[in-house]
Symmetry: C2
């Protein structure tokens, strides 16, 4: 796999494209129009600065060189013309993604492998629209790809094992730690582990067992983790925590209500706004 | 609180007594007979070596000085004669603990506060046997007290808030981080958080989603934690993991079965035996 196209240049899409270019690949960044591509250009420039500061070996030119390996395109046919791998990172809406795959299937070369970065949709919900279910799977990255360098690889029952293996190797080649997921699983591995921990923490608060600070101290000291669950909530953002919790069971809905009344309604959305369970000012 | 008696000199009891003596208190270590006290003496001597190596300021005499502040007694009346605080760390058996509290209540001075280190019993299961429910609560330490220095403080509805506060202050005075738990909760805070995480990891294995190594890498990279859930299982010990899981729901019982067949039956009990999910040889 030599030529990589990334569809969508939002927060994750731009990080995936940049990390791939940073690793020496020629990358095409596709988005819907020139305005989106202008925004992408700014994102990439900021990423180059971030990498220069935070990634070993990135300063002294390498971070900027990556920018020169990114080609911009708002024309899907043009964007995927030479692609060996298309990584799709468009917004998390089923209809939108199905539409993208239908169009993509019509214009991409036959050999091109498609990978979705979707966090919330299983790849089998999309496979039939790709025109190549054997060459389709999920390749899921974490935010701040340069720090949290996992690439969860998850196929559908139709994914060709050889394609799966190729994508695992590609992930390793862009300095990710490939995480092999053997069966489809909503939430992949990280969220499958994190959500139960965060729910348990939410329960402790809702039930009046302990304050966030006590819960977090216990977790940090007991496990050596750098952050307790309420610190993680603040990083994820309390709006996301609310959206996940309100869709859950009775206890989680109570937690959502608490989040809304005590935090969201007061503009406390977590680290991003300078205050959530903790103050970051 | 100046005079502290610790009942039971097993793994946790000896650590609690030693940490208390290390912090400058006069401590009485009580156990049932001279053989148990001889074993305690060895435990304390080993702890002094461990502290000298691992605890800042412990080398150069301080770790050994602590040993001189520990008095040994196999006579309950004698052991608690001057005690301001009795910390009970006898084996986790309800009948045994009730018996100990009944005897203790008869011989301890009226002002003495009792604290149980029980991991699995709620203090209200013991309160009526103490003869002083207002002066009784749980004070729960973690193994390797010098590294994992939380002291979870948890009262019953009958615990006097002033006594609760005194015990919080005592915990801080022996260099613990006091964790205030506002209502009784089985598992305190740490296990209330850890068990759901470990269950989620067990589910991923039982369901054939991913291998332990993939799960652990994801957790470490995604959260910055030093250990993933299967590494934690190995530290806790797979026998304990089995005992907890076999008492759980369907999925957990399947995990218990997997643990038994693939690990316990082959003598792989975790870090303690040199092999569990990982090899430590």
């Amino acid at each position: 796999m030599k030529h990589i196209t990334v569809l969508g240049t939002g927060v994750l899409g731009s990080q995936i494209a940049y990390q791939t270019a940073f690793s020496g690949y020629d990358v095409v960044a596709y988005d819907i129009d020139d305005a989106a591509l202008d925004a992408a250009r700014e994102r990439f420039a900021k990423l180059a600065v971030t990498y220069s500061q935070q990634v070993a070996g990135a300063a002294g030119g390498k971070a900027d060189d990556a920018l020169a390996r990114i080609r911009y395109s708002a024309d899907l046919t043009d964007a995927v013309r030479d692609a060996d791998l298309v990584i799709e990172a468009v917004p998390e809406a089923l209809e939108l993604k199905r539409d993208v795959y239908t169009k993509l299937a019509a214009v991409a070369p036959e050999h091109t492998v498609f990978a979705t970065n979707s966090s919330t949709l299983l790849p089998s919900a999309l496979a039939e629209f790709t025109g190549r279910p054997a060459k389709f799977l999920a390749l899921h990255f974490a935010n701040q790809i340069w720090l949290h360098n996992t690439a969860e690889v998850m196929g559908t029952p139709q994914t060709d094992p050889a394609v799966f293996e190729q994508v695992v190797e590609f992930a390793a080649s862009i300095d990710m730690v490939p995480i092999v997921i053997k069966k489809e699983k909503a939430g992949y591995l990280l969220n499958s582990l994190l959500v139960p921990l965060l729910n348990a923490a939410g329960d402790l608060l809702v039930d009046g067992i302990a304050e966030p600070d006590a819960v977090d101290k216990t977790w940090r000291i007991g496990t050596g983790a750098p952050m307790g669950p309420f610190q993680i909530f603040d990083v994820i953002g309390l709006t996301t925590a609310y959206n996940v919790s309100i869709a859950g069971g009775e206890k989680q809905q109570a937690f959502a209500k608490l989040l809304k009344e005590q935090y969201l309604d007061q503009g406390k959305l977590g680290v991003a706004t300078g205050e959530g369970f903790y103050s970051y000012r």
